[in-house]
Structure formats: C-alpha cells, structure tokens
C-alpha cells in the first residue's frame, strides 16, 4: 500500500510504495487496452494491483483472468494483432509456459510488454530470485531490460512500451525485475502525472492489424524460399532496437530527469583495473563494493548490462577494454557450459583489439538466490586479482560463489 505521506514534484509525486505497486502505477500510466495474467509468485502483487485499479475504474483496461500463463500470452497475441496496447506479468514456470507464444510475438512483430518477476526454475522448486527464467527466453526475439531499483522498474516500464511499439522495432519487450528483492521491497518512488506520461508515450499506432476494412493474414506458413528472410527481418528489428533503447532512456531523462543507463551503465570503469559485470538488483551492492574497494586502494568498477537483448556488444567492449580483469556475476547458467551473461561478455571481448581484451572470470553469484553482499564482491575481486597474478582465469568456466560444500553428496563420505 502506498503510504499517506507524499511529496509533490514538478511532474508527479514521491511516495513510498512496494515495487509491484510502482510497476502497476507505471503500467496504468501507459494505458494498456488489454491486460491478461495468471497468478504466480512473485508476480502476484503487480497483477492484483492492476485488477484493483480496473475494478475501481482507475484503469480503463480489459483485465482478463486467464486459465494459464500460456493462455494469458495467447490472449494478448490476439489482442495485439487486433491493434491495441497489451501487457502481462509472469515469472519462473509461467514464463516457461509463455515461451512458445513469445517466440510467435517476435516472429509476427507484436509489441506486447511483459514484466518478468525473476524467480528460479523448477527443479528444485523454490522462490529464489535468479535469472534462469528470463534468460531462457534469450533467443526468442524479445527485448530484455534488467533493472536495478524500484524507481528504475517504474521508469523502464514506461520506456519499454515506447521501445517495443516503435515502428522500427515492433517486438515484444520484457522488463526483468528481481523477484522479492524488487517486487516486494518498499522504496520511495517518484511517479509521474498522466499528462506527463502521455507526452512521453503516445497512443499505440499499429502498422498491421486485423480489420474487415483491410483484410490481412497473420501467421502464414513459410518454407525454404522465405523462412530465412523472415528471420533476417526479425534480426534487423532486434538490432535496431538497440538505438531505441538508448533514445528512450535519454528522452526519459530529458523529460523526467531520471536516467539509469541506456544499453549499459558504466560505474567508475574508466580507470578500473577490475570490473564487475552484472544485471539487476545486485548492481547497487556492487557500486557500494567498488567505492569501498577504491577507498582501500583497489581500482574497481561496475558495468551494469541494462539491455541484455539486443546485446550491446560494442558498449561492453568499450566499457571493459581498459580493464585487466573482468568478473561476470551470473544469475543463470547454461548447464554443461557457463554462465549465460559471461558467455556473451566473452564473445563480445573476442573482437576487441590486442591489449584491450581482459581476463574474464565466470562467477555464479546470486544464482539460486544466494545473497551477494559487499563482502561477496570483495572476494570475487580478490579472485580476479589472483587470476591476474597467475596470468590466467580459473580453470572452471563457472565458479559457484558461496557454495556450501557440506551439502554436496561427494563431500559427505
């Protein structure tokens, strides 16, 4: 619930509210015509708040209580193809169940906006905030923005509609919000008045939509003579989205004074020997860690990857090129390979010129919800310094940070 105390600002007001309620306020301000959702922890407070707004008449949207996440996304596919603005939120298994539809939305260029309230994937079943769920959508064509704070979650949802619906893009977009850490935390948030949001986000103008006045078909069958071209077109749209992510962040800054980074946000990276790369709510902790490390004489920096898809390889190369070692803190793992973000960071750096290709350490930190503190960050930096001393990264591609070896079967004998 929002607290009584509010501070009025030039274009809105500041109030203390739960992350989910801030997200719901942003979605409401974006005026979706159809919202469809299915309950799953930790997404529930978002959709409950929206359902309440619709019930009270504060939000002029059709709120559909779907029979599954799969149907929730499918309902929005139908509504979006019929030319209206649409929104849903889900998490974990729900996103897995939506996956088939999300690939369709990207392939058919339908700009549905999602909140991904990050939560672990079963098995084991649990509620821990990690990125395994949203990262499993990596290859679907959906735009993914990972946020650091409740304020950024609010601001980025408004930007996401503008990015997704840009006629150069027309792709689904997902704002990835760490479950509980952001969805259930109470923070002061500045939310903006409707006219101000309207000025930033114009009404959705679909290019293609179902109408008897102008019949067209969606979802055709393709073959070896044209499937490749369909893929190429979607790839071009995804690549074009990168500039739109930057534009939206800068335009938002101009209009509202808030900026959380564009594709990336580099913190004290310019002269850093060691840079920590991560996404989501852990960034705040890492900024604090970098400050303390620098106070102790270690030049550390932080690179926040805000937009994971499209992947900002050029910006990553530029931000990391001056460092000697990079530790990527991953909250998702491709089993049998490495952390998902680390893989992309390494691939980006491969194209760096000689001398601007730092050592890369793949660290699973925050994976499975294991807490990352300033001390955790300090230990990771220590490991990076040891690697620099040895002249090579640790032999394992993905280190499990904070692993409790006493729980492992092979350690019990």
């Amino acid at each position: 619930m929002m607290t009584e105390g509010r501070i009025t600002t030039a274009k809105g007001r500041v109030a203390v509210m739960e992350g989910s309620q801030a997200i719901a306020q942003a979605v409401k301000a974006c005026r979706p015509a159809v919202i469809s959702a299915y309950p799953i922890t930790p997404q529930t407070h978002i959709v409950e708040t929206l359902a309440g707004m619709a019930a009270r008449g504060e939000l002029d949207a059709d709120y559909v209580r779907a029979d599954s996440e799969f149907s929730a996304a499918s309902i929005l596919a139908g509504a979006s193809a019929t030319g209206v603005r649409t929104y849903t939120a889900s998490a974990s298994q729900g996103l897995m169940l939506m996956t088939e539809v999300i690939y369709y939305l990207a392939g058919t260029r339908l700009p549905v906006v999602f909140t991904g309230a990050n939560r672990q994937i079963t098995a084991p079943i649990g509620l821990q905030p990690d990125h395994q769920d949203t990262m499993s959508l990596r290859d679907s064509g959906i735009i993914q923005l990972y946020v650091e704070s409740v304020q950024e979650a609010y601001d980025t949802h408004i930007q996401a509609f503008r990015i997704a619906e840009d006629h150069d893009v027309l792709l689904p977009a997902m704002v990835c919000v760490d479950g509980f850490v952001l969805t259930h935390v109470f923070e002061p948030v500045e939310i903006f008045d409707q006219p101000a949001v309207d000025a930033f986000l114009p009404p959705y103008e679909p290019v293609h939509y179902l109408s008897p006045d102008r019949p067209m078909v969606f979802g055709s069958f393709t073959d070896e003579t044209n499937t490749l071209e369909a893929r190429y077109i979607t790839q071009q749209a995804a690549l074009r989205a990168a500039a739109r992510v930057e534009d939206a962040a800068r335009a938002y800054q101009t209009q509202f004074g808030h900026f959380h980074g564009g594709l990336v946000d580099a913190y004290r990276c310019d002269d850093a020997e060691i840079v920590l790369v991560a996404m989501g709510s852990v960034i705040g902790t890492l900024r604090e860690a970098a400050d303390r490390l620098r106070a102790g004489g270690i030049s550390a920096g932080v690179l926040k990857v805000r937009c994971f898809r499209p992947f900002p390889a050029q910006q990553v190369r530029e931000a990391l090129g001056g460092a000697r070692a990079v530790a990527v803190l991953d909250r998702s793992l491709s089993f049998g390979a490495a952390g998902v973000l680390a893989t992309d960071v390494k691939a980006a750096l491969y194209d760096s010129p000689e001398g601007r290709r730092p050592l890369v350490l793949g660290m699973l930190a925050g994976y499975g919800g294991r807490e990352v503190t300033v001390d955790t960050a300090r230990k990771i930096v220590d490991e990076a310094r040891r690697a620099l001393g040895a002249g090579r990264p640790p032999s394992c591609a993905a280190s499990f940070v904070g692993l409790r070896r006493e729980l492992l079967p092979e350690e019990r004998t």
Partner: protein
C-alpha cells in the same frame, strides 16, 4: 446471411487457390461457414491442416482478416481478438470465429478453449472434426472413433485399432453453460450454414462441431466425401443436433438408420474389422454406439 448461403458460394470470402487435398471435408466446411458469416468477421485458426493448406506465404484464400498463432491456443487468441475489437468500437459488428481441428480442439487446445467458454467471450468456436491428426500423417486423437486404424493405433495381434470411445466434446462444451452447442456435417450444408448463422446471432461463447471426412486419413475415393459424410449421419454415428443449457437437444431426424457396416465398409481405416476373427464383436459395439445415439437424441 440467410438461407441463401448456398446460392452465394461464389461470394464466399473463402476463395479457391488453397492447397487442400482433393475431397477435403474441412475445406468444404470452411467454404460453407464463410459463406454464412460473410465478410464482417475475423477468423482465428489453430495450427493444423486448415492453417497449413490456406497459408503458404505469400498466398491466401482468406478474404477476411485471418490470424494463426499456435496449435493449442485458438480459444485464447480469439478471446483477445474479441476484446480488442470491442476496444476499437467494433464489438458486436465484427464477429469472431475460431476454427480448429479435432486435435487442436479435443486435445491440445482444450484448456484454452475451456477458458474462452467460462469467461464468456463472444466467439463462435468451430471444430472441423476429421477424427485424427491428419496434418502430421493420421495419428490418433481423442476424437478418433472406436475401431479406427490410424498410424498410432494400427491393428495387430494385440490391437484392433482405436479402443477408446470418442471424447464427447459437445457435452464438455455444454457443461460450461454456454448458450449454444451444435453439431453439423459437410453433407448437410444448409443445416451447417443455418447453425453458423444461429451461433453468430447469439451473444457469448458458442461451440459448433462439423464432421469432415478426410479421404487420405480414412481411406476412400475423394469423390465420395459428401456421400460418406451422409452415411455417417444416416447410420446414427454422427447425430446432428443443437443444444442449449437446460433444454433437451433438438436433433435432425434421420428416418430409418442404415446399418453402421454400410459406413464402415466404405473406409480403409475400418477394413481390418471385416477381416479379423474378433471383428464382428467390435462392429457390433460400434452398432451399439449408433443405436444409443438414436435413442439419446431421438434421431
């Protein structure tokens, strides 16, 4: 539309040029359905034969806005289309018709269809029932009738074809309390067109199931599609009825039923029943299904 649907076939928004097999029952059904709906409609189609043979890019026989999303979500997609049309001020004027095969309706799409029913969306859902997964090569669905051979229910020393009764999908639809449920057959196009018009005139979710012979999957001469569909109805195996909640169904009378053997013998998928030692008892069981239909619906 009106009773002149057949006379306006030439004006059906479903046009020639698609890639259906010769004698395809589903295609005949859709031509009749679209002649009945006219152009003021959005059609949602589940993955399946109909989607495949009507949408090879860049061609289309659909003269109406048409949307294919996936296999198992036509009910949900149609729900979203209906809501968006209302938002655009086209509610009531532009009708929404979803069309899926028996696999997309009875099996994989049943969950999303149930959601569409219970939420009360103003959508006419039509199942073209050809009684197996024809698009993938004639595999058994829960609409496959007892005794039928499919590529996944082949007869053998320990099997005599499909050994489970056909799922009673109209009863499932009716159990949702939706205002209109009907069955139809391509052999009776006026009846089919009338039921489509009837469904469109009623607000809320409607379910219409159309029996559509498949020459490839059932094994018969493509010139005999209509004759075979008529035999299915006349035998009592496919009752044509309309049902509304709280009222007894009203069925099309068939007069003196023909024996089911007349229908079964005309198809390769039942041939094994006439060749194997235990065939007679299975045929008798199929006859009992027809007899029960005659009694249940007053055929």
């Amino acid at each position: 539309m009106n009773d002149t649907a057949l006379e306006t076939y030439g004006a059906s928004p479903y046009t020639p040029g698609h890639r259906a097999c010769p004698g395809c029952g589903a295609s005949i059904a859709v031509r009749t359905i679209l002649a009945a709906t006219g152009p003021e409609v959005v059609v949602v189609t589940a993955t399946g034969c109909l989607e495949t043979f009507t949408s090879p890019y860049p061609y289309t026989p659909w003269g109406v806005p048409w949307l294919h999303v996936l296999f198992e979500n036509a009910g949900a997609v149609a729900s979203g289309v209906e809501l968006a049309l209302k938002r655009r001020g086209l509610g009531g004027r532009t009708k929404v018709v979803a069309i899926g095969g028996d696999g997309g309706t009875f099996d994989i799409g049943l969950g999303s269809l149930s959601g569409m029913f219970e939420r009360g969306h103003d959508v006419t859902y039509i199942c073209y029932d050809n009684e197996a997964y024809m698009n993938t090569g004639v595999q058994r669905s829960s609409a496959t009738p007892v005794g039928a051979s499919t590529t996944t229910t082949p007869p053998g020393a320990r099997a005599w074809g499909e050994d489970r009764p056909k799922k009673d999908m109209p009863a499932i639809a009716l159990a949702h309390g939706i205002p209109y449920v009907a069955t139809a057959s391509v052999a009776y196009p006026r009846d089919l067109a009338r039921k489509v018009v009837q469904a469109l005139a009623i607000a809320g979710p409607k379910y219409l199931e159309v029996h559509c012979p498949c020459p490839i999957g059932w094994g018969f001469d493509p010139a005999q599609t209509i004759a075979l569909a008529r035999l299915a109805v006349r035998s009592g195996l496919v009752p044509l009825f309309e049902a509304r909640p709280g009222q007894p169904p009203t069925a099309r009378k068939i007069g003196r039923p023909c024996p089911v053997t007349e229908y079964l013998q005309a198809q390769k998928r039942f041939r094994h029943l006439f060749e194997r030692a235990d065939g007679a008892e299975h045929i008798a069981a199929i006859q009992a299904i027809a007899d029960a239909n005659v009694a249940r619906y007053g055929l």
